[in-house]
């Protein structure tokens, strides 16, 4: 583990990615304590105030401090994307490994159905689900998780098929171990690497998907300071106060870049194929 981390940090993209992630984590943990203003404090005279000493990143249409909203909003943006990805990946991984373990016609049936579900684009799937469950950040998390699961199932299953043919799995089956044991103790641990890489990159998709759902009005709801919602709100005033648009957009982009960098870094660190 430590060795992996060192290898990750030795690559520039890994190093920058980890640095950015640390920054984002700090914002999630200490954002609300460090924010200069309350994120929902309205100020009639401060409406659309340009960035300056009073509001470093400017103020929005209610005179709320954008920096404070960004800092506090980190907590309602990044962890949710993370949870959505985690749940989706876990569900997908279990389906994928389970399908590979069962093999044969069952595997075929599961994977074909899985592929069929993947034919519905992720955003459309999420939109339909949120409309069914009701708008809101919590339901957006569930929708994103469901939208992610089939893709993860496919990735996991192809890795698991290799593991399935390894001797130690065959031995465990010969020993008469239960399906539960084989899937969770023998196969899953050995397909963790591709799952982790794929999931890390997918967190960046989740951040963007979450923002998009908020933009379409079905994700986080006002007065939340979720970043996608901040961008969506600021769009209405983008010619009066472009700073309202730029700051949260940059935050979303940086977060997505960070997870992409770390994901790529992990991939290289785990499969050092450039060194062959």
């Amino acid at each position: 583990m430590t060795e992996l981390f060192i290898r990750l940090m030795r690559r520039p993209q890994g190093f920058i990615g980890v640095l950015l992630l640390a920054l984002i984590a700090a914002a999630c943990l200490f954002g609300s304590a460090l924010a200069p203003y309350a994120p929902e404090k309205i100020d009639f005279l401060g409406r659309f105030r340009a960035p300056g000493w009073q509001n470093w990143l400017g103020a929005d249409q209610f005179g709320r401090d954008i920096l404070s909203r960004l800092m506090v909003g980190a907590r309602s943006t990044v962890p949710l994307a993370f949870i959505a990805t985690f749940v989706g990946s876990a569900a997908g991984a279990i389906i994928g490994v389970g399908s590979a373990y069962l093999g044969g016609r069952t595997d075929e049936a599961i994977m074909r159905t899985n592929d069929a579900v993947m034919a519905i684009p992720g955003l459309l799937m999420a939109l339909l689900l949120v409309s069914t469950l009701g708008n809101g950040a919590g339901n957006a998390v569930i929708a994103i998780a469901v939208a992610f699961a089939p893709g993860m199932a496919r990735v996991t299953r192809s890795a698991a098929l290799n593991v399935r043919n390894q001797d130690y799995v065959k031995a465990a089956i010969a020993r008469g171990e239960g399906a539960h044991w084989i899937i969770f103790r023998e196969m899953l641990p050995n397909v963790m690497a591709p799952i982790v890489i794929e999931s890390t990159i997918r967190v960046s998709f989740a951040v963007m998907l979450f923002a998009t759902l908020s933009f379409l009005g079905v994700g986080a709801q006002p007065p939340a300071s979720e970043w996608g919602l901040m961008v969506a709100d600021a769009r209405q005033y983008m010619h009066q106060a472009p700073w309202g648009l730029i700051a949260p957009s940059a935050a979303i982009a940086l977060t997505a870049i960070a997870f992409n960098l770390v994901g790529d870094g992990l991939r290289d660190a785990l499969n050092p194929k450039d060194e062959r």
Binding site: E40, K41, I42, F44, R47, Q61, F62, S131, G134, N135, G217, V218, Q221, P222, P223, R235, Q236, Y237, M238, H239, Q240
Partner: protein, 515 residues
Amino acid sequence: MLSVSRRLFLAGTAIGLAGLPRIAFAEAPKRGGVLRMSVDQAASVIHPMQARVNPEYLVTELLYSNLTRLKSDMTVEPDLAISWEPNATLTEWTFKLRPGVTFHDGSPLTADDVVATINAILDPKTASPGRTNVGPIKEVAAVDPLTVKLTLTGAYADLPVALTYLNARIVPAKVIASDLASLSTTANGTGPFKLASYEPDRRIVVERNPAYYDPARPYLDRIELLVYPDRTAEASAMISGEIDLLLTTTPGEYERLVKADGVKALRTPSGQFLNINLGCDQKPFNDVRVRQALALAVDREATVGFVAGGYGTPGNDTPLSSAYHFYKNIPLKKPDIAKAKKLLADAGYPNGIDLTLVASDKPSTRTQLGVAVREMAAAAGFRINVQTMPHATYLDQVWKKGNFYVGFYNMQPTADAIFNLLYTSNAAWNETHWNNADFDKVIDAARVEADDAKRTALYAKAQDMMNAEVPSVISAFFDLLAAQRSYVDGYVLHPRGSVFRLDMVSLGAGAPKRA
């Protein structure tokens, strides 16, 4: 007993009205040309009896005509009816139809068409929103081919205004008899324009009706209606000259449009408002002190800034703005947090109160009001959680059922219409359940009062009652905002928000040639 002047006031006359444009031009309006305009949502219903939103009202106004028409000062003028007269008790009204009017298919307009139309609107099976809005009509009959008599269930002074209602467009009797639903995809009216093509989500095109009853109008050859759902992009299209007219815009875009070259930004005060409905029959708002406390916590001037971007007028908890004829200028409520706290404590909430305010997501100003009120009322001890939901869910689950939510209403043509729509005990949408018998009596008396001064006094009393008892907090009225290219002549932004009169519009010097 009605005085002579009263009868003249109520009866319509066609003298000199139909042929003359409302606005004096330096020169006569130029004929011809294509007007390209945009709306922010699709006109997905062109059935005149079923239209529900402004772009749909626009299309049906182009294609059809009512008996009467609402002018921008909220009085009526003749349209298909050239004159009308009530009986002494205001329970029977006789309308004379304009002779020689034809539908787009060439068939003549007769009293039978009017009778069939009104009966169809009143038929619950038609499911027309006009059913509760065209007036208390009991019976309608054709006296002769050009005369219609309407019998009412009670006295009603505003019938000619009610007949301007947006769903009361006259359609041919033979369509009603054979296939009324066909009006969802085709059109056959008496309006200034004919339907040329209908692709609701992309473009609707109408062309001049050469047989329109007024030979001078319409001036335009063709109107193209495009759907631009994004308000920001729509304003950009106006600035770059892609479109000639946009019907409505946001305060933020309005400021950009004011500064743009070749664009004339339009603004008119209106009676359109957002309110916070308080369920007066349930805890905690059954206690008038809680309602008064909330009213005193809201800074009305600030609300106009937050919600209307400054383009509006503060409200005083009555639905009448200065754009209404019977508006009473009551001194504006100033925020008084100390008094609000005391009222709340007296009502039994010394430690404040927790509430959930529901706001639908359309239009977005509902949520903005919720967010602003939440912060303003916090100081007085109201801990408000703002819950937003899709408009469809809101209509289904909260509207008329909830006891604390944000409502949004267009200006109505008369004071009677807005009070009877929302605040009397038997209002069509009695959301607040205020059910104040004294208030009902005042409104009923005003409804049949012939004398304008007495009527003014009655409506003043009604406004005082609402201001004092606060069945709903009305803190801001919106100005209507729109924009046109400067070469567009004759467009008047109507305070009602749903009357457009594009038959008066022409293209002046500098207009681009559009194929």
